[in-house]
Symmetry: C2
Subunit: 217 residues, 2 copies
């Protein structure tokens, strides 16, 4: 399986155009969290899996999901994991895909967004956090394991940021507008508002987890 799509519970105002205007053009199966599943049905897409505590939708809407979606997993609101975590783990288990496109991961409650941002530190996501792409209207976030990378400029985005989410060693940005040489820290830093000089940027680091955010205003 190449690509799986996941719709979390973040607000519609954060959806990128591909989701709000041309969702049927997006390849691959869907997994929906909570009222994300309802949005998919409204768009004529039947997700393979629906997961959540569904406390943000009413009984009739829950029945609609249950009647249409083969794999409907309802959890109690008191569960230990967020809907996001449950969704991503279920998608990983079912598909073992090469790419996980995640929509609705941003906006709304910041504590939920930060769970999504920091989940690469959770050992359960170790084998696939570098295959996640969080997509919002103005941002794409991906995560990198230690190594050296060539980053491609995403169509329509103006800025690129490198964010060491926790401790990092030997972080280098070789050929962007703003270079960084052999940076080490024990805490997170958002190296914001960098830009491409060429079609690609070379960067790398020796230990830690780095998020790459391409964005526009």
């Amino acid at each position: 399986m190449k690509r799986v799509n996941i719709l979390l519970g973040g607000p519609k105002s954060e959806y990128p155009d591909e989701l709000s205007k041309s969702i049927k053009g997006i390849p691959g199966p869907w997994v929906g969290a909570d009222r994300g599943s309802l949005y998919l049905l409204e768009q004529g897409i039947i997700p393979d899996i629906a997961i959540g505590d569904f406390d943000s939708i009413n009984k009739k809407e829950q029945r609609l999901l249950k009647d249409n979606i083969a794999d409907f997993k309802k959890f109690p609101p008191e569960k230990d994991d967020t809907d996001s975590e449950l969704c991503l783990l279920a998608a990983r288990e079912k598909y073992n895909a090469q790419e996980y496109y995640v929509y609705g991961a941003t906006g709304g409650r910041i504590d939920h967004f930060l769970v999504n941002l920091f989940l690469p530190f959770d050992p359960r996501f170790l084998d696939f956090y570098d295959k996640l792409y969080y997509k919002s209207a103005t941002n794409t976030i991906r995560f990198c394991k230690p190594g050296r990378y060539k980053i491609y400029h995403e169509n329509g985005m103006k800025y690129i940021a490198f964010v060491n989410l926790g401790p990092v060693t030997h972080l280098n940005i070789y050929d962007a507008k703003y270079k960084l040489k052999d940076f080490n820290a024990g805490h997170p830093v958002s190296w914001a508002s960098n830009e491409f000089l060429n079609e690609t940027i070379d960067f790398g680091f020796e230990s830690g987890i780095v998020a790459i955010i391409q964005s526009k205003d």
Copy 2:
């Protein structure tokens, strides 16, 4: 000076009601970043200081700001600091206030938000990061230095999250819906979706920086 208000460049859709509907009821002087200053003028409020590269507003709008605001600081877009950082440092220098209410710190570009979230690690903010309150439509964020605290339930908010922004030792949540006992980690974790059982929550930690986020859906 008790309270200063700062309006950063985040989108209006993230403004809390007090800002979008009754801004004149907010006590204290204002500092505006970039087009935040323009919004303040439109609302009939003259900020004491306007800071930014102002590349998101046109010449005529810049002239309006310059003619009306005594302290108009224009920086080149290539500067090392974000508008947020410059604004907060200028407010600190001018007022040395007890509380800095910061609006427009969330939404839009995530790399900018993360600069705001991680700035307590920057030594220039060490003496006042625990006096910052980031306010959005559905979230209030504040930062704590090591110690033991009694947190008060903010009117209208449902959830509370404790987020160790980097390494933390002996993090304890004593009397919330979900307790936490003597947690230690070298990386950030968002302890999301906690709730008040009483009017206050006792919590504490020995080293690190913890953000407290009160939120609603």
